[in-house]
């Protein structure tokens, strides 16, 4: 089931200075993680990823994902210690048409003489707030055994 991305996350995704990592898996389940600037949100709430290389591992893995109902993961880290992970499903790739042409022109204006293989549409399924203080508090509440006792000592050991 697709979810709506928060406005904070949308702003982060659309900021070219923000690091985004796209994780896919190959046929053997071996992960492939690459830093990408060309990931952003679309008006319909989906995520668009511009793949420049037809023969890249990422592209192969995305093709495999759209063919065999696989998922991908996008990690985003913001300037104010924001950390998010988005799980998503590739649902479409534009290799032609107005959206493709728009990005083809823009990416070449921005990066010079490069190719554009396709505009991948990724439907967000889940967002995990990976900010460590948020995650620690969450774990403390939900999994109270998952802590070392010295953290609970009356007199903290220095």
């Amino acid at each position: 089931m697709a979810i709506q991305l928060s406005s904070e996350l949308q702003v982060l995704l659309n900021d070219r200075k923000v690091y985004k990592a796209l994780a896919t898996v190959d046929e053997a389940g071996i992960p492939d993680v690459v830093l990408k600037h060309s990931i952003f949100t679309a008006e319909d709430g989906n995520i668009h990823y511009l793949e420049l290389l037809e023969s890249s591992r990422t592209n192969h893995n995305l093709v495999r994902a759209i063919w065999f109902d696989g998922t991908v993961s996008i990690a985003v880290t913001g300037p104010d210690k924001q950390r998010f992970q988005i799980k998503g499903r590739p649902v479409e790739v534009h290799i032609t048409g107005p959206l493709f042409e728009k990005h083809y022109v823009e990416v070449r204006q921005s990066l010079g003489d490069v190719e554009l293989s396709g505009v991948w549409v990724i439907e967000p399924l889940e967002v995990i707030d990976e900010n460590i203080s948020f995650r620690r508090k969450e774990e403390d509440v939900n999994r109270p055994y998952f802590r070392h006792l010295d953290r609970l000592a009356k007199t903290p050991h220095k």
Partner: protein, 421 residues
């Protein structure tokens, strides 16, 4: 239309059963294959959203080699695109043959079968050059036709094998050509300047095309067999090449089986990057029966050898042969069983792959203008096994097929799978 008249598939696995049976083959490619196998029929609702200003629609003035499955020329959408970028090249098919419906579902175009939603699809889009004319006044859409990412030019829509009534039995090229001529929509001979101008205009559309395909009927004339055909292609390729900064440009020639001298000329004198010559059926006995003109003028073994020798000129990964998948099962002299046909076809494809020639197939769709117009194509299960088998051969022998893949062609289920190579 009476349901009783419809072609039934009672003894064949259904789409969903085939999808379940072959979990390693993508459902979208299986859908494409079955749609090509059974054909399509556009509902009035689907046709209501066709916009000739935006979409590619069939135009009798555009020279396509083959006719439609229903034998009717109407301004229908040229073909379809799936959400993974896979094209479905398919034509309108009589309802009694039980085609898929292209309908509107939730306001979007979709493939529907017996009331069941299958997948959303899109119509192909028209390139901008289609509305323009060359300086000599020829509509550019009569020079090149377009697919989502490919430009195609038909050098000759007349095949000389038919002159002696030896055209390939599954093919309707000359009857289709004759019909168009009768409709007074025949295209004049294409001049190099018109070709060059059309390419120049097509290249102005950013990101629109990734390859150029040249093809046409066999031309037997010339000092030597096919010399005239070679001359025409060289002239065309040189006119195309005027527009590129590099000598070579992504291109595919689908033509007769040329000799080494002819192939060398094509390679040396033009920007051509790949060569395809269709054996049509990978079995000598079936070839002799189904392709009598090719058999008489070149012969099966020599056709194969010419393909193999062309690898020395164009290189491994740049030579292919096309087959009409399923025609090897045609009656009365075809294979009796699909298992036998598949085994024979893949064995022969392997003998070509060992020598650097890759094999691609189109789904045979019996057309009204062909000898085999009353026959039926093979089961979906057969086509999926054929696609998988040819793909596995490419993997085994390290063959790429980038010049004839999902993007630069879109007509071959087996080369759709090459996206993962």
């Amino acid at each position: 239309m009476s349901v009783a008249l419809k072609r039934t598939f009672q003894n064949e696995l259904t789409l969903n059963e085939v999808v379940t049976q072959y979990p390693d083959i993508p459902r979208l490619v299986i859908i494409k294959t079955d749609v090509q196998r059974r054909g399509i029929h556009y509902t009035e609702r689907a046709l209501s959203v066709v916009d000739p200003e935006i979409h590619l629609v069939n135009d009798p003035a555009i020279s396509e080699l083959f006719g439609s499955r229903d034998g009717v020329e109407k301004p229908l959408p040229a073909s379809l695109l799936l959400r993974d970028g896979t094209s479905i090249l398919v034509s309108s098919t009589p309802l009694e043959e039980n085609p898929y419906l292209v309908d509107l579902v939730d306001g979007r175009l979709a493939l529907v079968d017996n009331g069941e939603f299958i997948e959303h699809v899109e119509f192909w889009r028209k390139p901008r050059f289609y509305d323009l004319k060359t300086s000599s006044g020829v509509p550019m859409r009569q020079i090149f036709s377009a697919r989502p990412q490919r430009l195609s030019i038909v050098q000759s829509s007349y095949c000389h094998f038919w002159t002696d009534h030896k055209g390939c039995r599954f093919c309707d090229i000359n009857n289709n050509n004759k019909k168009r001529n009768e409709d007074a929509k025949a295209r004049p001979r294409i001049k190099p300047q018109d070709i060059s101008e059309t390419i120049r205009e097509a290249l102005k559309e950013p990101g629109r095309f990734t390859g150029i395909c040249l093809t046409g009927g066999s031309v037997l004339a010339g000092n030597g067999l096919f010399d005239k055909e070679v001359d025409l292609y060289i002239e065309t390729l040189q006119a195309i090449g005027e527009n590129f900064a590099t000598k070579k440009f992504p291109s595919q020639l689908i033509s007769s089986a040329f000799n080494e001298k002819q192939l060398k000329r094509l390679y040396d004198e033009t920007g051509l990057m790949s060569y395809t010559s269709d054996l049509e059926v990978l079995n000598e006995d079936k070839f002799n029966w189904i392709c009598p003109g090719k058999a008489d003028n070149v012969g099966y073994q020599e056709w194969k050898q010419r393909l193999i020798r062309s690898v020395d000129i164009f290189g491994k990964g740049h030579v292919a042969t096309g087959i009409v998948g399923g025609v090897e099962l045609a009656k009365p002299y075809g294979f009796i069983s699909e298992d036998e046909a598949l085994r024979s076809t893949l064995d022969e494809a392997e003998s070509l792959a060992e020598n650097g020639v890759t094999t691609i197939f189109v789904v045979w769709s019996p057309r009204p203008g062909s000898d085999f117009h009353e026959q039926q194509n093979a089961s979906l299960d057969y086509y999926v096994r054929l696609a998988s088998g040819l793909h596995q051969l490419r993997v085994k022998y390290g063959l790429t097929v980038d010049f004839d893949d999902y993007r630069r062609c879109g007509n071959h289920p087996d080369s759709d799978l090459a996206r993962l190579i």
